[in-house]
């Protein structure tokens, strides 16, 4: 199962490529990973800018926003909608699943490339087109789509209501194309992990992050269909005057909510699992300790995946669903917190008694677990239908899901990026700048969303663009102070990214030597390839002799034991 029996027709003529072919038409999984990653980061900058614009409007309503101008209510809605859409579909998905999946799966299972390299390339191209369509939707007549990222009809279905006839259709087309891109990518991930593993690598020797990306891909495959069907129906309602979601002639607007959230909730786990897996790799490596209870962790991942299909209606407790159904979904929602909590406990157990090294990736990895835990715990209130009636559509919800998605997407990105940076580019990032960047980002992040828990509990509805119109929400002076505090937190968090950029530039300009294949002294297969890996990844295709987390074994001198090191080689170790 090495290079020889993969009949990739693209192989062999990769050396003499020009710049365009190498970086824009490549079938190499590492290049496609970079394309996904940097496109995702670029989109995140747009999403971050939108967040800046609407947070400024909320903190200083009606004032001039530097870099944006005055914000109308329609622009506010479009900014909020596209912030959510971009951060989930064009940042979290491409970076966590597509970029790290592409980068890590072939390297970690020890093969030369994805099973279907050209489908992989097609996947990125479709994704890029979808990103271009989404960004272009901001500039058409009526502006970008403004019906929230959940796009509930009738608001989303009728341009008389949303006043963005072109924007809403372009938004929907972009989202649908993006699903196609990840469908193609996900098939690749699953098949590659199933059929291209290095000789000797059994199912239980596969690193946890690969498992998690595969399970996430399966979840995506099985959940995206109904939403795709719904998206087609909504597109027809918008443009061809059909009645799928229009009760006038027998349609049903609640139907969209079911189709959307049947996808929408598993989607949370689609983006969570890769981040969870990366933090597992990092915590094991930097604790110099075996990942605690590998198989239990895996079973909790499977359990999460299965249960995630039975919780979706907790988003609809006040949408008029049957209260008896609400009870059922409350129970399933509370049940799904069990496997997630178990994952966190297993990571904490991995840390226990380890030789913890607080390198920058480890800081991000630990921050991921800690901050995600806050998001998870606040979710208990929202999952219980009784409490949710009061919390629904308040800033408490906003704070809750940002405490899940920011750790997943932003902390997850930095965690994976700083950890695999040496593998991708052959250089080490600066630790001091990395730590400063880490602390300021974390400070800013918490400063944004802790106040919003309080404003939410005190009644701030989340879809108001100017609170000065609502005297009872500003009368109590501290409410506006808390909104301003959140905006200041956002400014801190955004400006911290300049430090990250400085770190990148400093590292790129530095004359440091190649960091070697294994700077973190880690066990998994990607660290046996050169940094950065060449075409075909490995100098010698690896053979696997053991599981991925054999750290600090008592009878060995070195505290790690790479998966591909032959058993008798430890005599020299």
């Amino acid at each position: 199962m090495s290079a020889t029996d993969h009949a990739h027709d693209d192989h062999g003529h990769h050396e003499q490529q020009n710049f365009f072919l190498k970086y824009f038409w490549s079938t190499d999984h590492k290049i496609i990973a970079q394309q996904y990653m940097w496109t995702g980061v670029f989109m995140a900058l747009i999403g971050g800018f939108l967040a800046y614009a609407f947070r400024m409007q909320l903190a200083f309503p009606g004032k001039f926003i530097p870099g944006f101008g005055y914000m109308s209510s329609l622009e506010y809605n479009a900014a909020v909608t596209n912030h959510g859409t971009i951060m989930i579909f064009w940042f979290a998905m491409p970076v966590l699943i597509a970029a790290f999946g592409n980068l890590l799966i072939p390297l970690m299972v020890g093969c030369d490339d994805m099973v279907f390299p050209r489908i992989n390339r097609l996947s990125y191209q479709v994704f890029l087109i979808s990103a271009v369509i989404l960004v272009s939707s901001f500039f058409v007549k009526g502006g970008g789509f403004n019906g929230a990222w959940t796009a509930y009809p009738p608001l989303s279905a009728n341009s008389d209501y949303n006043m963005a006839p072109a924007g809403s259709s372009l938004w929907l087309i972009a989202v649908a194309l993006e699903f196609v891109a990840f469908l193609l990518g996900g098939i690749n991930f699953i098949v590659t992990a199933m059929s291209s593993r290095a000789p000797g690598m059994r199912m239980w020797d596969v690193p946890i992050v690969v498992w998690m990306i595969v399970v996430a891909s399966i979840l995506f495959m099985l959940s995206v269909g109904p939403l795709f069907a719904g998206a087609v129906m909504l597109l027809f309602d918008q443009n061809f005057g059909t009645y799928f979601f229009n009760p006038e002639r027998g349609g049903d607007p609640i139907l969209w909510q079911h189709l959307f959230w049947f996808f929408g909730h598993p989607e949370v786990y689609v983006v969570l699992l890769p981040a969870m897996g990366m933090s597992g790799e990092i915590i094991a490596t930097f604790s110099r300790k075996k990942l605690f209870a590998y198989k239990t962790l895996l079973y909790t991942v499977f359990a999460t995946g299965i249960i995630s299909f039975f919780v979706w209606a907790h988003h609809q407790f006040i949408a008029g669903i049957d209260p008896r159904m609400a009870n059922v979904f409350t129970v399933t929602t509370l049940i799904i917190s069990v496997p997630i909590a178990e994952m966190c406990f297993l990571y904490i157990a991995t840390l226990y008694g380890g030789s913890i090294r607080l390198k920058v990736p480890m800081l991000w990895g630990l921050a991921f677990v800690a901050e995600f835990l806050l998001g998870g715990v606040t979710g208990i209130f929202l999952g219980a239908s009784g409490a949710d009636i009061y919390f629904h559509d308040t800033y408490f919800v906003v704070a809750h899901f940002h405490y899940t998605f920011v750790p997943i997407a932003i902390i997850g990105f930095f965690m994976g990026f700083t950890y695999w940076f040496p593998k991708m580019y052959g250089k080490m990032l600066n630790e001091t700048l990395g730590k400063i960047h880490f602390w300021i980002t974390i400070l800013g992040f918490n400063m944004i969303f802790i106040p919003l828990f309080f404003t939410g509990m005190w009644g701030d509805h989340r879809r108001i663009y100017n609170y000065s119109h609502f005297p009872d929400l500003v009368k109590n002076g501290i409410m506006q102070d808390l909104r301003i505090m959140a905006t200041v937190g956002l400014l801190i968090m955004l400006s911290a990214q300049v430090i990250f950029l400085m770190n990148l530039i400093k590292t790129a300009l530095s004359k440091q030597e190649n960091c070697g294949p294994n700077p973190w002294k880690s066990n998994t297969l990607e660290w046996t390839a050169p940094s950065p890996p060449g075409h075909g990844n490995f100098a010698v295709m690896p053979t696997v002799y053991r599981g991925p987390y054999e750290y600090s074994l008592p009878d060995r001198e070195s505290d790690f034991w790479p998966q591909s090191e032959p058993p008798d080689a430890d005599k020299q170790a």
Partner: protein, 198 residues
């Protein structure tokens, strides 16, 4: 995890010589079919929810042209035979027998199915049944049309492989991958037929 940590298993690499369970191309198509099943489930559950909400279960609306139930039943048989022929073609190819004729016959019947469906659509449209008529009509065109697009897509895949079959360059994995997808679109049709037409 057992205590394998300190007891390296020397014989591991040799055990990996076992053959693959499935060809990657077939596995990829199967995963894709999984997504497709969920896609059609979405459409079908949406249809059933809309249907269940109709007062007094008058479905389809009585003022609409009647759907061509009988001719579509015959057409369903045509499609099932097409699926059977392609299954036989893969079997024949596997046994190194003549598969081209079976495959071409199967594709032809698939083409007949699409043509008859298109003919019926033209008839219904001329009787004034369009997507804007009612939720029922919207669903009818959406579901049948989606399936029709899948049939066309499946045929394009099959014809690509059949061309290689004629040239003698097709592999079993390619033929099987195309046929597995074709089986899916063939087998989901009777379900859709019963649900939408009857």
């Amino acid at each position: 995890m057992t205590s394998a940590a300190v007891s390296p298993q020397l014989s591991r690499p040799a055990t990996l010589a076992k053959p693959r369970f499935l060809e990657p191309a077939v596995l990829g198509v199967l995963i894709f079919i999984g997504a497709e099943v969920m896609f059609f489930s979405g459409l079908m559950s949406a249809y059933n929810i809309a249907r269940a909400k109709v007062p007094m279960a008058i479905w389809p609306p009585p003022d609409q042209p009647r759907l061509p139930v009988e001719s579509t039943a015959a057409n369903t048989v045509v499609l099932l035979v097409s699926g059977l022929l392609l299954w036989l073609a893969v079997r024949a190819f596997h046994k190194n027998k003549q598969a081209v004729v079976l495959a071409i016959a199967g594709c032809t019947l698939g083409g007949v199915f699409v043509a008859v469906q298109g003919y019926e659509w033209v008839g219904l449209l001329s009787q004034g049944l369009n997507m804007q008529r009612s939720a029922h009509a919207s669903f009818f065109y959406l579901i049948v049309g989606t399936h029709g697009l899948h049939i066309i897509g499946g045929l394009v895949g099959l014809l690509t492989v059949v061309r290689r079959l004629v040239q003698g360059t097709a592999t079993l994995a390619q033929l099987r991958a195309a046929q597995v997808f074709w089986s899916f679109v063939v087998l989901i049709w009777p379900v859709l037929y019963v649900m939408v037409y009857l």
